[in-house]
């Protein structure tokens, strides 16, 4: 009974499903990178989508080859990306807050404002205000005349 089953076909089908799901997540997160309104929202959407998509694609590859050494390497890549992706996101997000990258105008920043004022960072929390300031700076710049 067990010899009649084509194991290669089953592995191919599982691998196909995993790869298609992973590629779908990657595509959606790339679309999100293009059309979401604010840097922080983009960042939090991208980190999740990419990590999950990459994990699904790589595990699909590991299942297709069915060899221990490849499975080990794939697991190493997955664990590494699951550890490093949030760390990189945290570092970039922290840098963005300290560099006054503006928030979306619908974002509620009540609990952050106190902290920002304490650190002398709270000038441009609002995106509209930031754009107005940019325009004023451009008007006042001496190179424009």
């Amino acid at each position: 009974m067990l010899e009649n089953i084509d194991w290669l076909l089953i592995r191919e089908i599982i691998s196909c499903v995993l790869i298609l799901t992973g590629v779908l997540f990657m595509l959606i997160s790339t679309l999100g990178l293009l059309r979401l309104p604010d840097f922080y929202i983009r960042m939090s959407a991208i980190t999740k989508g990419t990590t999950l998509g990459l994990g699904l694609i790589l595990s699909g590859m590991g299942i297709y080859f069915n060899q221990p050494d490849i499975l080990l390497k794939v697991l190493a890549i997955i664990v590494f990306s699951f550890i490093t992706a949030p760390v990189a996101a945290h570092v970039v997000g922290r840098t963005a807050v300290q560099n006054k990258i503006p928030f979306w105008d619908r974002t509620k920043t009540k609990e952050l404002n106190e902290y920002l004022e304490q650190e002398n960072l709270g000038e441009h929390v609002n995106r509209d205000k930031y754009i107005e300031d940019l325009k004023k700076k451009k008007k006042n710049a001496p190179g424009n005349q």
Binding site: I28, A45, T47, K48, L71, H90, E111, L112
Partner: protein, 165 residues
């Protein structure tokens, strides 16, 4: 933790030595090696009942945390993907100051990493005295910040505290 690393190395070496001999009774592929590795690890875990009780208790909790984390990751992704594909924005982004119960650096790193990867939240900054973690949350229902705080506190922080206590 030390016990787990020791058991992992022992199981890995045993599996490697078994499969590097000349004539094998079972085929050499990923399924058999993984099954043998997990089997040896389970046997060692059962043997830990006699000399390391805390490791015997903590390993199921660690696996529970891992499964819960994977489930949350998948659900968060589907939520964000739905919001990206449909033209209307359902998100209400909010900055949250989350008071931390966890103390050591390892626990804070673990919690911040898990929070970044799960439900629509991104950890932005830790205050210098390591007592408050700032989050950027996408989905806050009806401006109810306390509910989200409670959700994170009872979901992830409790499990991490159980693991490292």
């Amino acid at each position: 933790m030390k016990t787990f690393v020791f058991h992992f190395i022992v199981a890995f070496t045993a599996t490697y030595l078994f499969f590097s001999q000349a004539d094998l009774p079972i085929p050499y592929n990923a399924e058999t090696t993984t099954a043998m590795f997990l089997g040896i690890l389970t046997l060692l875990w059962l043997s830990a009942l006699f000399y390391n009780k805390s490791y015997f208790r903590k390993l199921p909790k660690a696996i529970n945390l891992l499964l819960y984390f994977l489930k949350e990751l998948f659900l968060a992704n589907i939520k964000v993907a739905f919001d990206i594909v449909t033209p209307h924005y359902y998100m209400r982004p909010t900055i949250i100051a989350l008071p931390l119960t966890v103390k050591s650096d390892l626990e804070i790193t673990l919690l911040a990493n898990i929070i970044t990867l799960t439900p629509g939240t991104l950890s932005i900054d830790v205050r210098k005295d390591k007592k408050i973690l700032f989050l950027h949350a996408l989905y806050v229902k009806d401006d109810d910040i306390e509910q989200l705080k409670n959700y994170i506190k009872h979901g992830f922080e409790r499990r991490i505290l159980e693991l490292t206590a």
